[in-house]
């Protein structure tokens, strides 16, 4: 029954987790300290006949100390967070794995460029709620939505990004472990929200190539998406 963060399987995942545990340690420590003070005071200073409370309106020095220390810790956390955030959102490691994911009620459409290497052409490979990526290479994804806001959630990769109609949002991640993982939707998108469920398969490099070739063969030539089918 004991649960913790799910298994992590992307390059930046451990850095996010690391930050999580630092914050957990800091907040956990502060919580124990302050709660302990509260209970200790409640016990020690409970009313007893004949004792009078200490008359004071405060103490400027103590107040300054307990303002500056939390402020310092928070500034530190801000800087640590910023570097991880920049890694996730502002870096763009080059890669030839590019795919387009289009969300709609209640489906993830995953589109791969075929052998021409271009998206939205007749040789695209199109899958529903099924996603395959190679191990050890950054995967670039364009996110689009056809109807409402969804949120693309790969718990094990520590990826979550709202998918917004009218916008194309680029994200990336680099898987570090082969295997099957689940895809969820994290933003309420209608009554089928809880069913917006897909599977991500991370293949070792060779296996991925074989899979892609096979998938292309199976898909055969397809019509390019009609213009009005894309997001507005």
């Amino acid at each position: 029954m004991f649960v913790w963060l799910p298994e992590v399987a992307s390059t930046y995942g451990p850095r996010i987790d690391h930050l999580f545990y630092i914050i957990l340690a800091l907040t956990g420590g502060s919580m124990i300290l302050t709660e302990a003070c509260l209970f200790w005071f409640a016990w020690k200073y409970r009313h007893r006949e004949g004792r009078r409370a200490h008359y004071t309106h405060g103490n400027k020095t103590i107040e300054a100390v307990w303002t500056v220390i939390p402020a310092g810790i928070l500034v530190m956390l801000t800087f640590m967070s910023k570097s991880v955030w920049d890694l996730v959102k502002h870096t763009n490691p080059p890669s030839d794995v590019n795919l387009l994911i289009t969300a709609s009620q209640f489906n993830w459409e995953v589109r791969y460029p075929g052998s021409d290497g271009k998206l939205d052409t007749p040789d695209d490979v199109v899958l529903n709620n099924e996603m395959h990526v190679p191990l050890g290479r950054p995967t670039h994804i364009m996110l689009r939505s056809k109807d409402v806001i969804h949120s693309f959630f790969l718990p094990n990769m520590r990826v979550k990004q709202d998918v917004v109609p009218g916008l194309t949002i680029p994200i990336w991640f680099e898987p570090t472990k082969a295997g099957n993982y689940e895809i969820g939707c994290a933003e309420l998108c209608g009554f089928g929200h809880y069913t917006m469920h897909g599977i991500l398969t991370v293949h070792p490099a060779e296996e991925y190539k074989a899979w892609l070739e096979q998938a292309e063969k199976e898909a055969g030539p397809q019509a390019a998406p009609a213009a009005d089918e894309g997001p507005a």
Partner: protein, 581 residues
């Protein structure tokens, strides 16, 4: 004091209608708000139980569910669309019809004139109107349960396009009614806050300088300013969506040149301050209660007042922390993270000052005090868990998971609700001239405290396990299946929590008629409301009090007693130096 209320106490209105229904007396209006909010607490709580039943037993019919018409529950089962309606209405009702009307409507109205030494609000008619706009709003939101296709289903945050077009949610008119109800309740808020600000600025008793005001008044004052500035923004955005839904404008529809994220910016520009509207007043009340029952001046009074202002001021520049994963520019995310981290500082100051107030006090564990201490204790947890979300990268994982649900209930239930329990017990004798049962109050407190923590603490773990919020059936996901025993445990605790609230309701109702009668100042407190009779008559005070000092002179060497009310000239024999505070 306004002219119409300068008359002597007993000359108020005498007919039943003008006295109890269309009353212009701030105290009656306050109590009216209180009953509305109690009523909605029952509905909101009932909806919470339905949510928890569904999450524990996704494929079992609701016990007694067959009593509902089959258009609502299919053979007693909660269906996915109905589930969305349930948590949407739970959130909406708890925020807009329970917490806000209770903290600002009920306590704001009741306490402001009494605690600053005024006979009534600045605009008694406007005050009455603010209540009589809330009542129809309550009818509108309730009526949405009974229209075809049912009430709104897009979450209390109501993001378009989901909320924009009936084809996405399957909800029709119910959604429009949701918008109308919120517009009306917002109007009520605006009228109330105008009144509070004017009253506090203009009608303080002689000697009541700003820095002699109790922190309750500081909190209500700053909250009113927040409300006055933020609510019109909510009104504008509700109006835009209403137009989108009814006459076909396209503010939020990309197909018509609108922008989806515009809603989120404007909505959170109101709703982030709104979360402070839901906690600041409670912070004020709890400060007064803690000072009274530890028989000590509040530690760092000025710092407390400035923190309230700081939280409110910063509250306007942090709204984007609800939108880190929304597709907003990530650089903006960084700046919102900075402002959000800053806002944690005044919150920390307040917490430490409460601890400082307890330090070397003589603490009386009344029911009010126990609830106030629970407020502090739970606010510590809720405040600290907020830091996880403030950190943009960590928010990537926990955003829209049960971690958020845990955090928000630690602040709203652990904070606002315990603040409300504390305040109801504390001011009940003033309001009704009788005591609530301390014994039953303590039974309610202990059971609530335990059940509440067993309900909401494990939700942090559910969130860390990755469980998304607002999902109908977590067992659809393999990675969430191991969490199901914990979901069942949480639900069991929630049912207990719901049940023990009956003790509070009964205690309240029985004490109204049977409680022990009290005189003016049963808690031996200092602020001005205790100088008025219990309950105060029309016009509040026999004569307007003069204020000589701050509200926290407990255990002062100036007085033989351990308290020294604000309106008592001096407790020492003539010739001794007068108070300086």
């Amino acid at each position: 004091m306004t002219q119409s209320h300068a008359s002597a106490p007993d000359h108020g209105p005498t007919s039943f209608w003008t006295k109890y229904v269309f009353s212009q007396d701030h105290k009656v209006i306050g109590i009216q708000f209180m009953f509305v909010s109690f009523f909605f607490m029952l509905i909101g709580g009932f909806l919470a139980m339905m949510i928890r039943w569904q999450l524990a037993y996704p494929d079992r019919a609701l016990p007694g569910g067959s009593l509902f018409p089959s258009s609502v529950l299919e053979e007693g089962h909660i269906t996915p669309p109905v589930y969305n309606q349930i948590f949407t209405m739970h959130g909406t009702i708890m925020i807009f019809f329970v917490i806000i009307p209770m903290l600002t409507g009920a306590f704001g109205n009741y306490l402001i004139p009494l605690m600053i030494g005024a006979r009534d609000m600045a605009f008694p008619k406007l005050n009455m109107l603010s209540y009589w706009v809330l009542v129809p709003s309550a009818f509108v939101i309730l009526s949405s349960f009974f229209v075809p296709l049912g009430p709104a289903a897009a979450g209390w945050t109501n993001y378009p396009p989901l909320s924009y077009d009936p084809q996405w949610t399957g909800v029709g008119i119910g959604h429009t009614l949701w918008l109308v109800a919120l517009l009306m309740s917002g109007t009520s808020s605006i009228m109330g806050s105008l009144n509070y600000i004017t009253t506090i600025v203009n009608m303080r008793a002689p000697g009541m300088s700003f820095f002699r005001m109790p922190l309750t008044i500081w909190a209500l004052f700053v909250t009113a300013i927040l409300q006055l500035m933020a609510t019109p923004v909510l009104a504008s955005v509700l109006g835009m969506l209403l137009l989108d839904r009814t006459v076909g404008t396209h503010f939020f529809a990309p197909a018509g040149g609108g922008h989806v994220i515009l809603w989120q910016h404007l909505f959170w520009f109101y709703s982030h301050p709104a979360v402070y509207i839901m906690i600041l007043p409670a912070m004020g009340f709890v400060s007064d209660i803690i000072s009274t029952f530890s028989r000590k001046p509040i530690f760092g009074y000025h710092a407390m007042a400035y923190s309230i202002m700081g939280i409110a001021g910063l509250g306007f520049i942090v709204w984007g922390h609800h939108m880190f994963q929304s597709g907003m520019n990530p650089t903006l995310g960084t700046s919102f993270m900075m402002s959000t981290m800053l806002i944690a500082v005044p919150s920390a100051i307040k917490t430490f000052n409460w601890l400082g107030t307890l330090w070397r006090g003589t603490i009386h564990f009344t029911t009010a005090m126990l609830n106030a201490m629970a407020f502090v204790s739970m606010f510590i947890i809720g405040g600290l868990s907020g830091i996880f979300m403030a950190s943009t990268p960590v928010d990537i994982f926990i955003h829209d998971t049960y971690f958020i649900v845990a955090h928000l209930h630690y602040v709203l239930f652990g904070g606002s609700m315990f603040g409300i329990f504390a305040s109801v017990h504390y001011w009940f004798p003033k309001m009704f001239g009788r005591m609530m049962s301390e014994r039953w109050g303590k039974v309610h407190f202990v059971l609530t405290f335990i059940a509440y923590n067993l309900t909401f603490f494990p939700m942090h773990l559910l969130g860390m396990g990755g469980m998304m919020r607002r999902i109908y059936d977590p067992t659809q996901y393999d990675f969430l299946k191991p969490l199901q025993p914990m979901n069942i445990f949480v639900s069991m605790s929630a049912f207990t929590l719901g049940l023990v609230q009956l003790i509070f309701m009964l205690n309240f109702l029985i004490s109204l008629f049977r409680g022990k009668k009290v005189d003016r100042n049963p808690w031996r407190a200092n602020s001005l409301e205790w100088a008025a009779p219990s309950p105060p008559g029309h016009g509040n005070f026999e004569t307007i009090p003069t204020v000589y000092r701050g509200p926290y002179e407990f255990s002062s060497p100036e007085s033989k007693e351990d308290y020294l009310p604000q309106d008592v000239p001096s407790a020492l024999p003539a010739g001794a130096p007068a108070g300086v505070h």
